[in-house]
């Protein structure tokens, strides 16, 4: 019988993969993808608790706000990455040591 812990384990796996991507990838857009995975893992947790816990639909309202923030974050981060790229023609974050110059 599938219940709340199974969804939480899937969410923990997704979170772990997101952390792994953030830690190992050096490509700016790939790191953004890792952040999206982390946020999606949190969303899965919120929705699972809203189904199995006592939160009712409040968990889903929180998930909606998380999605809104993720959209805003992706737009801003991609704009910054494009700006850095046009400035220095680099996308590998290890080669970007300084914010100015």
């Amino acid at each position: 019988m599938i219940g709340l812990p199974h969804f939480l384990i899937v969410s923990a796996l997704l979170f772990t993969i997101g952390v792994f991507i953030i830690a190992t990838r050096r490509h700016g857009i790939m790191m953004l993808m890792g952040v999206e995975f982390v946020l999606n893992a949190a969303n899965l947790n919120l929705i699972a608790f809203s189904r199995y816990g006592e939160a009712g639909t409040r968990g889903q309202v929180f998930a909606i706000f998380v999605i809104i923030l993720a959209a805003a974050e992706a737009a801003i981060a991609l704009a910054i990455i494009l700006s850095i790229y046009s400035h220095s023609a680099r996308i590998n974050l290890d080669e970007l040591q300084s914010m100015k110059e």
């Binding site: 599938i2 219940g3 709340l4 812990p5 199974h6 969804f7 899937v10 923990a12 796996l13 997704l14 979170f15 772990t16 993969i17 952390v19 792994f20 991507i21 830690a23 190992t24 990838r25 050096r26 490509h27 700016g28 857009i29 790939m30 953004l32 993808m33 999206e36 995975f37 999606n40 969303n43 929705i47 189904r51 199995y52 639909t57 409040r58 889903q60 309202v61 998930a63 909606i64 706000f65 999605i67 809104i68 923030l69 993720a70 959209a71 974050e73 992706a74 737009a75 801003i76 991609l78 704009a79 910054i80 990455i81 494009l82 700006s83 790229y85 046009s86 996308i91 590998n92 290890d94």
Partner: protein, 170 residues
């Protein structure tokens, strides 16, 4: 049937996410991420969150992923698309991921979750709408202002950065 669907969609979710983590090609990673988001939407449907499943597909697959593909295509020389995005610190990343997974899994498995009878899922759209416009009206308005600020900010940051063709006036 529920259990079978759960296993299928969570395996698809974790599998595509692992592919994203290990493929050297950024475009393949972005397309595979669409699979992760689709299977997550199906998991949301299994949890009775119909509105959020549709929102997940519309916003993540329809907006964020397309935005990322545009970003990849602006910043990449297609000829050397897999040359430079090497993975680094794999050992450290594996240790970090292992510790994270261990802590999270231990927390989940060692907790006594209350078992309660859950009824069949009911449509959530009307309840969500009422809650957003009553209990969560202030966060909703703040979120709309945040989206406006993010939109204007992204345009301001990025509008000078897209390379223009020769001879084109600004």
């Amino acid at each position: 049937m529920f259990d079978f669907m759960f296993l299928v969609f969570s395996a698809a979710c974790i599998g595509t996410a692992l592919f994203v983590a290990f493929t050297p090609n950024v475009v393949h990673a972005a397309v595979s991420m669409a699979g992760t988001f689709f299977s997550l939407a199906c998991l949301y449907l299994l949890l009775g969150a119909d509105f959020l499943a549709i929102t997940q597909v519309a916003i993540y697959v329809g907006a964020i992923l397309v935005l990322m593909l545009f970003g990849i295509m602006y910043t990449h020389n297609i000829a050397r698309i897999s040359g430079e995005q090497v993975m680094m610190q794999i050992g450290g990343g594996l240790i970090l991921a292992g510790v994270t997974l261990f802590v999270l899994a231990a927390a989940v498995l060692s907790t006594e979750w209350p078992v309660q009878e859950i009824g069949p899922p009911a449509p959530t759209v009307d309840r969500l709408g009422v809650q957003i416009l009553t209990d969560y009206l202030l966060p909703f308005e703040v979120a709309s202002i945040l989206l406006l600020v993010a939109l204007v900010g992204a345009v301001v940051i990025a509008h000078t950065s897209i390379p223009r063709r020769e001879g084109e006036k600004s």
